[in-house]
């Protein structure tokens, strides 16, 4: 029973760690940002899982429905998604700027160029 009840969280942990691994192990900056997005999405899935109530429906009040899922995690995650895309946009703009300055988006090559000067 525990395995069924916690299955969603384990998927979340796997996705989170995959995103984390992309961020720390890859040198390419665009790929790092994609990794960050995966990490973010896994947190979203975790919060929405908290909000689910067995037998509930979407939290839109209607006649004849008594059980609703918890609306508060949904509100939090709506805000988080929008803030997330704002940070992604800023990160990608920084990548473009780094490419203009260094001519590369590989982190180790940037470090090499910094060491040379």
């Amino acid at each position: 029973m525990a395995a069924v009840g916690l299955y969603n969280y384990w998927i979340v942990v796997f996705l989170m760690m995959a995103g984390f691994y992309i961020v720390i192990a890859h040198d390419n900056l665009v790929k790092k940002i994609v990794g960050l997005n995966i990490f973010q999405a896994s947190v979203f899935v975790m919060y929405i899982t908290f909000g689910k109530v067995q037998g509930g429906t979407a939290p839109i009040i209607a006649d004849g429905v008594t059980t609703y899922s918890n609306p508060l995690p949904h509100v939090l995650i709506l805000t988080a998604i929008v803030v997330g895309v704002a940070t992604t946009a800023l990160g990608l703009a920084l990548v473009v700027r780094i490419n203009e300055a260094y001519g590369t988006i590989e982190e180790d090559e940037i470090h090499d160029q910094d060491d040379d000067t």
Binding site: L15, I24, V30, K31, V34, I48, I81, L92, A93
Partner: protein, 172 residues
């Protein structure tokens, strides 16, 4: 979803990586629908699978779409990730089970929002009433964050940098 992530891990063509990221977002949106979060699913599908992908494709167009072969071994990151993952799995054992109606999260303020929200705000969708009415200031702050990010992007990439440089050249 896990398969898509494996693809993102392995493929070095960044165009394919970004497309897989978009598919990943779309699947996340489908999961949100299954978990009753329709508003979140809308946002994730439009913002996560839409705007993020367009932004990432624009970045690739301005830079390069090939990732170089990794130059060093990746044992240490793998160990760090596995250790963190194990700690998180251990942490999940104490969490409330999926869909449990008696979980602490559902017993505190959520019932009062569900009951009073439509009465006080006149909006049947509780997510909207909390977002726009009860937590209106947070949403205002969110707009500020987006505005700041937009200003940052313009400052980083805008045309005015070239104008400034030209003026320096003229002075010299």
């Amino acid at each position: 979803m896990s398969l898509t992530v494996f693809g993102i891990l392995r493929i070095r063509n960044l165009f394919a990586v970004v497309m897989l990221g978009s598919i990943f977002s779309l699947m996340a949106a489908a999961i949100f629908v299954i978990l009753d979060a329709v508003d979140v699913a809308f946002t994730e599908a439009s913002v996560g699978a839409g705007i993020s992908t367009v932004l990432a494709l624009g970045t690739i167009a301005l830079t390069t779409d090939r990732e170089k072969k990794p130059s060093h071994t990746k044992i240490l990151p793998l160990i760090v990730v596995i250790l963190t993952g194990a700690a998180l799995i251990y942490g999940t054992l104490d969490l409330a089970h999926y869909g449990d109606p008696n979980a602490p999260a559902h017993r505190h303020v959520a019932p009062s929002y569900l009951k009073e929200g439509p009465e006080k705000t006149g909006i049947p969708n509780v997510v909207t009433s909390v977002l726009a009415s009860y937590r209106g200031y947070d949403t205002l702050g969110e707009v500020t964050v987006i505005f700041t990010a937009g200003v940052g992007v313009i400052l980083l990439l805008g045309n005015w940098r070239h104008i400034g440089r030209r003026r320096e050249d003229e002075d010299a």
